[in-house]
């Protein structure tokens, strides 16, 4: 049996999927979740192998939800928007169903999964898009233990590279995210975030002063009292950002 879960905030969207899936004898729906938070918890517990995911959902969207799931199942997106198709395939989604979809179209998607299953299911790559709405990152979702934290980017004071992780410093504390500083550098709004050092990105709105020491060493002080080293290149970037 193929163990399947549905994550969608509209009950009627569940109903139509359930109705269509009833016909497939090798499918067993083991989980129905109505938002990303329920989804993360449920998927962790029941370990489905295939999930149907809506994109627009309360608080965190479908992409963000996937980002926080450890053993990722295969994913079929189900949405009324066609704008996320590219992103969906970038995260190696198996298929992308557009609401309303026909029984046949769902059948095709399932067929695809069955074939993949025989030859080993595809690995879902690490989701690098946190925001479904725009190219610029607006919030970061992190998981600490069982808690899921949604951090609006303007609350980030600075980011620091720590081994394979990036430490996100906020007034609420430090959060770790398995990602490179480079991906953050690419996704954060360059108007407000500057990479001042190989290991640091700072929020310009937090800067209180910049100090020069001997031998051209430079430090930037943040409102929180943190003192961040600035590399030579970082100094140029910082100057350019403040000048613009």
């Amino acid at each position: 049996m193929i163990r399947v879960a549905i994550i969608d905030d509209e009950p009627l969207a569940h109903e139509i999927l359930l109705e269509y899936l009833k016909d497939a004898e090798d499918i067993e729906v083991i989980g129905k979740y109505f938002n990303g938070f329920e989804g993360i918890k449920g998927i962790q517990e029941t370990q489905p192998e295939l999930i149907f995911v809506d994109i627009q959902m309360p608080k965190i969207n479908g992409f963000e939800m996937l980002e926080l799931i450890d053993n990722k199942p295969s994913v079929i997106f189900v949405t009324a928007y066609d704008t996320y198709a590219v992103k969906a395939f970038e995260v190696h989604a198996l298929d992308y169903l557009m609401k309303p979809f026909s029984r046949e179209r769902l059948g095709q998607a399932l067929g695809k999964y069955r074939t993949f299953r025989q030859s080993g299911p595809p690995e879902l790559s690490r989701v690098t898009y946190a925001s479904a709405e725009s190219e610029i990152l607006e919030r970061v979702v992190v998981k600490t233990g069982n808690r899921i934290e949604v951090i609006p980017v303007h609350e980030i004071m600075y980011l620091a590279a720590e081994d394979d992780f990036v430490a996100i410093q906020t007034p609420k504390g430090k959060f770790l995210k398995l990602r490179t500083l480079k991906t953050f550098e690419e996704m954060l709004d360059p108007k407000y975030f500057v990479r001042v050092h190989r290991s640091y990105i700072i929020n310009l709105r937090e800067v209180t002063r910049i100090e020069n020491y001997d031998k051209g060493r430079q430090y930037v002080w943040l409102k929180s009292g943190a003192q961040i080293p600035v590399s030579k290149q970082g100094g140029h970037r910082l100057k350019a950002a403040f000048d613009s």
Binding site: E10, A13, E15
Partner: protein
């Protein structure tokens, strides 16, 4: 300055013509010219407060008369003081009083006419400017609304819901098809006026929220209340729609729990008051896109009524409320 010169020269010639010597003529003209100029200033200051289109032309008829009498009276006093000893001049002065009265009166009427016409033209122009802006905003709102509604996902999501209902609950499916059809019909109806009845706007909102309710089921609760008598009140077309959509967006995508959207319409003295409230999570900050809705509504009301205090919004810890007051003219 130029006009002062022309005025003095003209009057000097006139007085010279009636037998006074040049020095006297020029001095006499100077006094009157200065007085006339001062009167013109007075008129310029006073007229903006007296719009003939509102108060009638009585004021415009009487003002110059009062001014004329004062000007001639003061002029005579000054000239008598200057030429106290010159008997022949004083005779001439008394002799010419009626003529001076007539001249000053005509002059001031002429000036009044010019000022009033200018003011009126300016006013009209301003009004027209404002009307075009209002029109533009109405069209923008219509466009925004259409774009929102015709944004395919609204339609597609609704169709997906209908698809789900058709098999098991065909009656509900019919209901939703009907709502969808009515809603789109209202959306494409050509509205030319700058205002429509509140009943119509209300109907549109009811349809919209009913469809959302069908889609989201128990998670969404709609609490609508319309005070009796408000249905005949007027408001600019599609004023509320973007705000209701915001409320849905904020509510449904901002919190996980059950969402209650409340829309309350009341009538207070000369206003239609509408309060739209939705739950939200302050920690999320204001979602993108809400600014446009709220700002455009504020702007439209400003253009129509020239007031900035008609839209109020309050963000509390877990709910957000927009209160609109729409003045009822006439």
């Amino acid at each position: 300055m130029g006009s002062l010169g022309v005025l003095i020269a003209g009057m000097s010639f006139l007085i010279r013509y009636y037998g006074q010597d040049w020095t006297t003529a020029i001095q006499d003209s100077c006094v009157f010219a200065i007085l006339l100029l001062a009167s013109t200033q007075v008129l310029l200051i006073v007229y903006p407060y007296v719009r003939p289109s509102f108060t009638g032309y009585k004021a415009a008829l009487i003002f110059p008369v009062i001014l004329t009498v004062s000007v001639v009276f003061v002029g005579r006093m000054v000239l008598e003081w200057i030429f106290g000893g010159n008997i022949s001049y004083r005779l001439f002065l008394d002799h010419s009083l009626p003529l001076r009265l007539a001249f000053v009166l005509l002059f001031l009427y002429g000036i009044s006419l010019l000022i009033l016409v200018r003011n009126e033209v300016e006013l009209q122009w301003e009004r027209k400017e404002r009307e075009t802006m209002t029109d533009k905003m109405t069209r923008e709102a219509e466009l925004f609304y259409l774009r929102q509604q015709l944004q395919p996902h609204f339609l597609f999501n609704s169709l997906n819901s209908i698809n789900a209902l058709v098999g098991k609950r065909p009656e509900e499916a019919r209901d939703m098809i009907q709502s969808l059809a009515d809603f789109f019909r209202l959306a494409i109806q050509k509205d030319t006026g700058t205002s429509e009845s509140f009943a119509k706007e209300w109907e549109r909102i009811v349809l919209y929220l009913r469809m959302e309710k069908m889609r989201f089921g128990d998670r969404l609760e709609v609490d609508m209340d319309m005070e009796e008598g408000t249905e005949v009140l007027l408001l600019p077309p599609l004023l509320l729609q973007p705000l209701v959509e915001n409320a849905i967006k904020f509510g449904l995508y901002g919190v996980l729990e059950k969402v209650v959207i409340s829309v309350k319409a009341t009538r207070s003295s000369n206003f239609l008051q509408v309060a739209i409230r939705n739950p939200y999570d302050a920690a999320n900050g204001l979602p993108k896109g809400t600014g446009f809705g709220l700002e455009s509504v504020r702007r439209r009301l400003y253009l129509l009524f020239g007031r900035n205090d008609l839209v109020k919004h309050q963000a509390h810890d877990n709910w957000f409320e927009v209160i609109l007051r729409i003045p009822q003219l006439a």
